[in-house]
Each structure stands twice: as structure tokens, then as C-alpha cells.
């Protein structure tokens, strides 16, 4: 469906905890090798579906309600890198753990890029529409079991092979589900960030005074 040509290495380096660390030649080569290998197996797919008010099917809890406040439509979406990428991550964890760590970070960056492509397509399909950021189950009080609803609404297991297990983990693992609010009127554009992140208390990036890339919680 979409082809990624390059991966966002800066982002991957940040996931590796490397904000501020100089990349030596060896690390650079490792990143390069891993990027090439990962790109050769990624089979990126996404789905979205726009639903109209009322949003009963996808609203659960205070935070998603707030997120969709003022919106007259919402897009539910999901994206995945596919099963082969998962497999590469598994194999690398047996053959070379340092590679595995780099591949894992690059894959996280990649799935974010796929979501970006989905955003762009959505914007193209609804020109002039204002969009919120992607709000995923697990943010704030939006429960993880809403992933099940989102996947069902999108017929995701059948259409792109994306499923959920009983512990509410997505398989393939490098995947995302999210809700985006759409509106004809400008909406306060909050951003994804620590304020809504359920990992804020344990986050390794925050501990180091850094962030995972979505630190800015202020409205624009």
C-alpha cells in the first residue's frame, strides 16, 4: 500500500536513549545496516474509516471525549509494519542483541512514519478540514480494550492481518491504533505528549530530562 524509502534515524536514535550522544562510526554503520535490512521486510499497511457524530462506539472515558470535543467527525485508524518485520526482530534477538535493539528502535520510528502517511492521506481526502493529533488507546484514561473496537470497526484482522491478543497486545507488534478528530472549524490543537501519556511516571526519556519526540503539550 505504501513504501517507505528511508527511516527516520533521528527518531530511532532518540528511542535508543541517545539524545546528546555522539554517534561514532560503528554506531552509524550499525544504524545503516539495520535500516537497509528493515526496509527490505517492511510491508506497511494502514486503514482508516471516518465516522460521524455521535461517537458512542469509540468514546470511553473523559480524555477521548475531550480530544474529540468540537469535532463533527472522527477517523479511526490503524497501521502496521506487517509480520515479516516482527520476525526479523525476533531473529535478531537470537543472533545479535545489539542489532535487535537498533532494529526495534528503527521499527518504532517506521510505524510512526506509516501513521504520518495515513495522516497525509486523510488530509488530502478532506481538504480544508482541521485534524487533531492521533489519540491512541492507552493515552490518558482511554482504555486499551478500545483497540478491539477500533480493529473491529476497521475489519483490520481480515483486511491487513492486524489482531489483538487477550492481553490487549497488537500483533504484529509494530502497529498502532488511534482516533483522530475532524472538524470544519479550527480546534484547539493539543498535541500528543507527556501530559496524556500513561507512561509518564516510568518514562526513561523523562528521567534523563528528554522526551520520546512528543513532549510538547501546549496548544498551538
Amino acid at each position: 500500500m505504501i513504501t517507505l524509502r528511508r527511516l527516520n534515524r533521528d527518531e530511532a536514535v532518540r528511542y535508543l536513549g541517545g539524545a546528546g550522544i555522539a554517534l561514532n562510526e560503528k554506531m552509524n554503520r550499525l544504524l545503516e545496516d539495520c535500516e537497509r535490512e528493515l526496509l527490505s521486510v517492511i510491508d506497511a499497511k494502514f486503514l482508516y474509516r471516518v465516522i460521524d457524530l455521535p461517537f458512542d462506539a469509540i468514546v470511553k472515558g473523559r480524555d477521548i471525549r475531550g480530544h474529540l470535543g468540537g469535532c463533527d467527525r472522527a477517523a479511526v485508524m490503524c497501521a502496521t509494519l506487517g509480520a515479516a518485520a516482527d520476525r526479523l526482530l525476533r531473529v535478531s534477538q537470537i543472533t545479535d542483541m545489539s542489532r535487535a535493539v537498533v532494529l526495534d528502535s528503527l521499527a518504532s520510528a517506521a510505524v510512526e512514519q506509516v501513521c504520518g502517511e495515513a495522516d497525509a492521506l486523510l488530509a488530502e481526502r478532506f481538504p480544508g478540514t482541521f485534524m487533531t493529533f492521533r489519540f491512541s488507546p492507552g493515552y490518558g484514561d482511554y482504555p486499551l480494550d478500545m483497540q478491539r473496537t477500533i480493529l473491529r470497526l476497521l475489519d483490520a484482522p481480515r483486511k491487513i492481518g492486524l489482531t489483538l491478543n487477550e492481553s490487549l497486545l497488537l500483533t504484529p507488534s509494530k502497529s498502532v491504533t488511534a482516533v483522530i478528530g475532524l472538524s470544519d472549524h479550527p480546534i484547539p490543537r493539543g498535541r500528543r505528549g507527556c501530559a496524556v501519556c500513561s507512561l509518564r511516571e516510568t518514562c526513561a526519556y523523562r528521567r534523563k530530562g528528554s522526551h520520546c519526540g512528543f513532549e510538547n503539550t501546549a496548544s498551538e
Binding site: 560503528k26 554506531m27 550499525l30 516482527d86 489482531t163 491478543n165 534523563k208
Partner: protein, 798 residues
């Protein structure tokens, strides 16, 4: 009327079109599951079935695609009531006609291990429940499957709980694979072996795109093929499908030369499509298509056709290998996986898997090994055990068509092994020995081979799936034996038409330069018709001898494979040659600090000539590791660099260990630690990082893997007397399992001191965990990252 008669009497069998499309068009409302309409709107569902029968369908699928316990959970309806209502609806519609009712079953909706966490037997139970509830149908259909192992669970559930015929179709994407990577050939081969009545494709693609998939399938099966395609692709705006009935029927006609006999429609098709197909087929003849491929075995993604010599890797076998035996006892499955991957890299096309060892439960280990190896490695496997019950657990959970190693001419073996081979649709190695041992002469061995083939054929096993092993004997003990083996091999090949297999390296026991002897024997055997040499593929000259033979025998056209394999080897070689030269300048400290593995090992070798092992560890290795750890904490280096350094230290430890083995010094392990990612959690990279580091710091890690039952943690701790346990959980949803595991550890008598306090130190980690929470659930230590785990281990075990 039944399916068999239908297949015999009719030129083509017409299936129905989409159920979901009609439901959607009708605007009928339902909560969660469209299958509940069987109960709430029976007349509507019946009208759909009737419309398809009137359009010409010989078989209608019940409205039960997602009627399993998992998907119906939120609907408030039971599987039993939905399915029996659905069968009744189809029956009512078929009344007065010859139409058959097929119980329709789709995927469970969760992914099986290893990609997901659903266990094979759990999937089996979901299907079993549906099959029992649908016993009133005329046949069973499994469709829209993307995981071959899930489909295997479904077919076995059908075969073991019902006498109904089975149709099986999988869904392929434009790249010619299912979402989980299953190839059409592997699907056809595996499902034919499992004894389904017809195989094919449904959903996803339109009939205009299915030719490559169908063409590949038909090469590997003699069964009638099923095509139930989508009406092309839906338009994202209008949701209308792109292929109209007439064109759909035209496309179907173009697939007939591949042996297509059962035709219907999937998403987007309606009775109009079925009517059009019926019209188009009315003056056509079915063109049965015999299987053209040679005997083959497969994993879910890779088919190996035995139409040329193929290398079976022999290294996954504990016989005579101390480290391997220790790995089995410790449950160190990663060691096996490493062996598997290295052999494939070396050139093995198939892998023998033997995990027999007196100190372990071979059945459990076989299941674990097969699943784990298949999760990282595409090569088909040869399941190797002397015990039929071990063979069966391996066969059951194997994804694809394996080889069974082995059956022999002994009555007990024939009677217990061959039925398993038949049931699970495997190939089998037949050893030419019996209750009287290995016969001396070629004639006697040939006679046993004949007996094995006869017995296999009596059970319906194709003789091409019997691979005869004429047995290699040690030439230093019996010099004539080699000639007898080869003479038997030639006769088996020429007179019985069976494929042949031989373990090669036995030939040279007791002789110097075994490699040369092995290679000469290998070449002789290949020329005499050996198809499956079992060798150590990591010995390049052996693997290359097979490749060279393929060139000389005219199999490897233009020597393309041979040249490619040797170019790859040449690429890898200079890098290795360079290292020792550079190593001369690298001291052990900077090798470890910079993560230079072979330089580190070389430095350790050099140091051992002048210094004592423990001095090197304590004064060189540990300080280097400490410096790396310190820099990591100070945010000066990346995690991968820390791991590379730790790996280098490990390489140094290995050198030192080997040295101590020679000189009989003290053991360097600093103690045993259990690691597990808790029940329900399958994302285990964090745990694996911790494992790598602990390993490298000299601890012995017993890695129980992911999704680990609390009881397994406790059993292992008790059995191996381990008093340090590390647990990892990634999800808020699985923290509960962590708590359960700790509670079980604390409550186990065998793991307590006489005063009732716990002897076990538990350390925990994971993205969602906080120190407070860790303490609350009874852990002793909370570790923020892998480095802290090592610090904790140092504190506790020293």
C-alpha cells in the same frame, strides 16, 4: 447427496457468494456479530441462502464465519445456539433441493504462537466447539485463513471430532503470500497431507489476480481446487466492487486449466455473480490437473522439493555434545535456535531436530523446540525421535509438512509410526533395519526397504514420501560395509523409486582426516542417487561438495547457485582474515570497551599464556565492563554499544572457560538466575537485553521465554534450586500476572527458609512498572534498565 457424490457426478460444484455483502445491503441491524442474525432474523438469512440456491449454488455456507467463543463473547449468545440456528436456517432454505449445507468457519480472530499468543490447543478447542455445534451440516468449510498452523488446528479438530468432509481455503495478498507469509505451495502441500477434500483460495483478491496463486497450488496437490474470489476491490467512497458478474465469470473460466472444480464468490459477490458463473460453466469441462511437483516438504513459507540433492543439517542433536545437553537441561532454547540459524546460513535446506536426553521431558522439549525453531527459521524440519509419542507432539504443532525420522522394518515401529505419518501428512525416513539389527548385505536391506514401502502404501502413504536410509556403517570397522550401503541405495532408488537419505559422517569414525573421508563418501553416494545427505552444513567443504555435485550433474543451471554461494562466502571471508592482524595491537580493555569481539577473544588467548584466569577476569574484564556500564549510565554511549561490549566480554569469558576446561580450574559461573516475561505478555525484547547482559557478566541464565505460566517459574526454581528470579512485564494488563507469579513464589514451601521467609530474590522491570508498584506486589528489587539488573545480580549473587 453428499460432497463425494457431488464431486463425482457434477462437472463443477457451485458454491454460494458473499453473506456479509447481502446483510450489509439489506441494512439489517445487529450488535457486534452478524452471526446473531441467525437468531434475530432467521427469515432474512434463509432468504439469502434461498437466493443463492436459486442462482445455482450446490453448496451454501452457513452464516457462522465468526461464530466462535472469542468473537461471540460480547454478543451474549452461545456458540451452540448461534450455530445450530444457522444450520437450521440453511437447511430450511435447502429443503426440497439437492443443495448441501456447509458449516462455515473463519479464523479465531487472535494470532497463534509464535507471532501471537494463542496456543495451538486453544485454537483447536475453539474450532472443536464450533464443529460439535454444527454437526448437522453436510460438510465443513474453513475459509479466509491466513495462518497455516491455525488452519491445521482447525482441520485436526474436524477430523478428530466429526466425520464430515472438509474444504479449506486461504486468503492470499497481491505478493502471493498470506498475511503471515504462507505460500500457496505450502498450503496445498500441507492441507493435502492432512486429508482435506479440496483446497483453494477465497477473499482478498479478485479472480483476475488469482492465476499465479492457483498455478502454484495446483503443482503441489492432486485435489480439486476451490476459487471463491472477491468481486475485485471495493471503491473507498461508494463501497461498490470493481468486477461485475460477467467479467467475474470470464476470469473464472481462465482459471479452469489449473484444475478448478469448486467455484463461488466472496466479498462483494451476490446471487447475480453465481448465476453468471453457472451460465459460463454450463458448457465447460472440468480439467483435472495432476500434481506435477516431485515429493516435497515445507514450513509455512518455504517448500523444498526433493528433486535434487538437499542438505539436512544434523547439528540439533545432543548426542556427544556436552554444551547441547546442558542447554537442554537448562531449558536454554536460544542455544538451539542459534544452532538452527547457523546451519541455515551454512547451507542447510532442512534441519533435523532431536532433543532426546535422559534428564528431560522429551515430549515437552520437542514441542517447545519445534515451535521456537519455526518462529525464527523457514527451513522445513525433520522431527527425530525414537519415541512415537514424542514424534506425535512434534508433528501436531509443526507448521507445514515435516519429515519423520524415523520408522524401521520392525513390526512395532511400522505399526506405531506409519499411522502418525499418514494422519499428519508427513514424509518419513525408513531405516533398513529390523528386530534382527542391521543386515550385512544390500539384498537384505533392500528387502526391508520394500517391506516399509509396502506397509506405507497400504496406509495410503505415497511411496515418494518414504525416504529410505540404507545406513552408513563405520568403514574402519567394516571395510566392505560402504559398498553394501551404496549398492542398497542404488537399488532402492532405481527399483523402488523412493528418495534416499543417509547420515554421512558415521563413515569415518576412527580414521584420521575424517572430513576428507566424509567428503569422498558423500560424493560417491550422491552419484549413486543419494537425495538427502545429513551432514554438518557448517563445514564448508561438505556443503560445497553437494553444491558442486549439483553443478556437475547438470542440476544447477549455469552453476548459478554455486557461484552465488561462493561469492557470498568470499565476501564474508576477508572481514574475518583482517581481524586477527588487527587484534595483535588491541588490548583486552579497549577490545571490550569498543565492542570488538574477535579482538577481545584473541587478547584473552594471549593473556592466558602469562596470567591466571581469575586475575584476567577480575583485573581486566570486570573493570572494562564497569567502565562501559558507567559510561552508559552517564549517557555517554548507546545501549547497543553496551551490549556489544558485554558480548565481547562474553567472548573473552568463553576463551577463559575453554582454557579452564583444559586445566581443570574452578567454574566461572557466578550463579543461576531465572528470567521470564510474565503470562500474557509476548513482547520480550527488554527481558532479552537483560539476559544478554547477565550472560555476559558471567551469570547462568535460565530463560523461560515469554508468556510464562507462574507455575513454570516455580517448578524451575524448585527443580534447579535457583534463588534469583527476574520478571518482566510490558503492559499494564499483564502486571497482574507479575503479581501472581511473585505470590506463587512466596507461597511455595520448597522455596522458603525454615522460618517461612522466602529464599528467592525477585527483581522486576518493564516499561509500565514503577518502584512503588514493584514493592507493592512483593518484589525485592525494581530495575529500571538492564544495567540495573546486572547491578542487582552483583549485589545478590556477587
Amino acid at each position: 447427496m453428499d460432497l463425494k457424490t457431488l464431486l463425482q457426478n457434477k462437472e463443477f460444484v457451485l458454491l454460494d457468494g458473499a453473506m456479509g455483502t447481502l446483510i450489509q445491503k439489506s441494512g439489517a441491524r445487529y450488535d457486534h456479530s452478524p452471526e446473531t442474525l441467525n437468531l434475530t432474523r432467521p427469515e432474512l438469512i434463509q432468504s439469502f441462502h434461498r437466493a443463492y440456491i436459486e442462482a445455482g449454488a450446490d453448496i451454501v455456507y452457513t452464516n457462522t464465519f465468526g461464530a466462535n467463543a472469542y468473537k461471540l463473547a460480547e454478543s451474549g449468545c452461545s456458540v451452540e445456539e448461534v450455530i445450530s440456528a444457522a444450520v437450521n436456517n440453511a437447511r430450511a432454505a435447502a429443503e426440497g433441493t439437492d443443495a448441501l449445507v456447509a458449516l462455515d468457519i473463519g479464523p479465531v480472530g487472535m494470532l497463534l504462537e509464535p507471532a501471537g499468543s494463542l496456543r495451538f490447543e486453544e485454537a483447536y478447542d475453539y474450532f472443536k466447539e464450533q464443529i460439535l455445534a454444527g454437526s448437522g451440516a453436510d460438510l465443513i468449510v474453513f475459509e479466509t485463513m491466513t495462518d497455516l498452523l491455525e488452519l491445521k488446528a482447525a482441520v485436526l479438530a474436524a477430523k478428530e471430532n466429526s466425520g464430515l468432509p472438509v474444504l479449506a481455503t486461504m486468503t492470499f495478498e497481491r505478493n502471493g503470500r498470506t498475511f503471515t507469509g504462507v505460500s500457496p505451495a505450502a498450503a496445498a502441500l500441507t492441507l493435502s497431507g492432512l486429508g482435506v477434500d479440496a483446497v483453494g483460495v477465497n477473499c482478498s483478491l479478485g479472480p483476475d489476480e488469482l492465476e499465479p496463486v492457483i498455478a502454484e497450488m495446483t503443482r503441489f496437490t492432486g485435489l480439486p481446487l476451490i476459487v471463491k474470489a472477491n468481486a475485485g476491490l471495493p471503491d473507498p467512497n461508494s463501497n461498490e466492487y470493481s468486477i461485475l458478474p460477467e467479467r467475474f465469470a470470464e476470469c473464472v473460466l481462465s482459471l479452469l486449466p489449473y484444475g478448478v472444480k469448486l467455484v463461488g464468490g466472496c466479498c462483494g459477490t451476490t446471487p447475480d455473480y453465481i448465476r453468471e458463473i453457472a451460465r459460463a460453466l454450463s458448457d465447460r469441462r472440468c480439467l483435472p490437473c495432476p500434481r506435477t511437483a516431485d515429493t516435497a516438504v515445507c514450513s509455512a513459507s518455504t517448500v523444498v522439493e526433493i528433486n535434487a540433492p538437499r542438505i539436512i543439517g544434523e547439528r540439533i542433536n545432543p548426542t556427544g555434545k556436552k554444551r547441547f545437553q546442558q542447554a537442554l537441561v537448562d531449558g536454554n532454547i536460544d542455544y538451539l535456535l542459534g544452532q538452527a540459524l547457523v546451519q541455515v546460513q551454512g547451507g542447510a535446506e532442512l534441519l533435523d531436530v532431536n532433543v532426546g536426553h535422559p534428564e528431560i521431558d522429551e515430549k515437552k522439549m520437542m514441542a517447545r523446540a519445534v515451535k521456537a525453531i519455526q518462529s525464527v527459521c523457514d527451513a522445513p524440519l525433520q522431527i527425530d525421535s525414537t519415541k512415537p509419542d514424542v514424534l506425535e507432539v512434534g508433528l501436531r504443532c509443526y507448521n507445514g509438512k515435516p519429515i519423520v525420522n524415523s520408522v524401521n522394518g520392525e513390526e512395532k515401529s511400522l505399526a506405531s509410526v506409519l499411522p502418525l505419518v499418514k494422519k499428519y501428512g508427513a514424509s518419513v525416513v525408513g531405516l533398513t533395519l529390523d528386530e534382527n539389527g542391521i543386515p550385512k548385505s544390500a539384498e537384505e536391506r533392500f528387502a526391508i526397504a520394500e517391506r516399509i514401502v509396502r506397509r506405507a502404501e497400504a496406509l495410503g502413504i505415497d511411496r515418494r514420501d518414504v525416504y529410505i536410509d540404507c545406513l552408513t556403517l563405520t568403514v574402519s570397522a567394516e571395510q566392505d560395509a560402504c559398498r553394501e550401503t551404496l549398492s542398497a541405495l542404488r537399488r532402492v532408488k532405481n527399483e523402488l523409486g523412493c528418495k534416499t537419505v543417509l547420515g554421512v559422517s558415521n563413515i569415518s569414525f576412527g580414521l584420521p582426516d575424517r572430513e576428507t573421508v566424509n567428503r569422498a563418501f558423500l560424493t560417491m553416494a550422491l552419484e549413486d542417487g543419494l537425495d538427502l545427505p545429513i551432514i554438518n552444513p557448517n563445514i564448508a567443504s561438505m556443503t560445497n561438495a553437494v553444491r558442486a555435485y549439483r553443478v556437475l550433474a547438470g542440476i544447477d543451471k549455469n552453476a548459478a547457485d554455486f557461484i552465488a554461494a561462493n561469492a557470498a562466502a568470499a565476501d564474508a571471508a576477508p572481514a574475518q582474515e583482517k581481524k586477527p592482524a588487527a587484534a595483535a595491537q588491541t588490548d583486552i580493555f579497549s577490545a571490550v570497551y569498543n565492542g570488538l569481539k574477535s579482538e577481545g577473544a584473541a587478547a584473552a588467548e594471549r593473556l592466558l599464556q602469562t596470567e591466571d584466569a581469575m586475575t584476567i577476569i577480575n583485573e581486566k574484564l570486570i573493570p572494562a565492563l564497569d567502565k562501559v556500564g558507567e559510561d552508559f549510565e552517564k549517557n555517554k554511549i548507546f545501549l547497543p554499544q553496551l551490549i556489544q561490549s558485554a558480548n565481547t566480554a562474553q567472548a573473552c569469558f568463553d576463551v577463559i572457560k575453554a582454557h579452564l576446561g583444559k586445566t581443570g580450574g574452578e567454574n566461572v559461573s557466578k550463579g543461576k538466575i531465572i528470567l521470564a516475561t510474565v503470562k500474557g505478555d509476548i513482547h520480550d525484547i527488554g527481558k532479552n537485553i537483560v539476559k544478554t547482559l547477565l550472560d555476559n557478566y558471567g551469570y547462568t541464565v535460565v530463560d523461560l521465554g515469554r508468556d510464562v505460566d507462574p507455575r513454570l517459574v516455580v517448578e524451575t526454581a524448585v527443580e534447579q534450586n535457583i534463588t534469583m528470579v527476574g520478571l518482566s512485564a510490558l503492559m499494564t494488563t499483564t502486571l497482574k500476572s507479575m503479581e501472581d507469579t511473585i505470590r506463587l513464589i512466596r507461597g511455595t514451601k520448597e522455596l522458603q527458609n525454615p522460618d517461612g521467609s522466602s529464599r528467592v530474590t525477585v527483581f522486576v522491570g518493564g516499561a509500565v512498572l514503577t518502584k512503588d508498584y514493584a514493592m507493592k506486589i512483593g518484589a525485592d528489587y525494581y530495575c529500571r534498565d538492564a544495567k540495573e539488573s546486572v547491578d542487582t545480580a552483583k549485589r545478590v549473587l556477587g
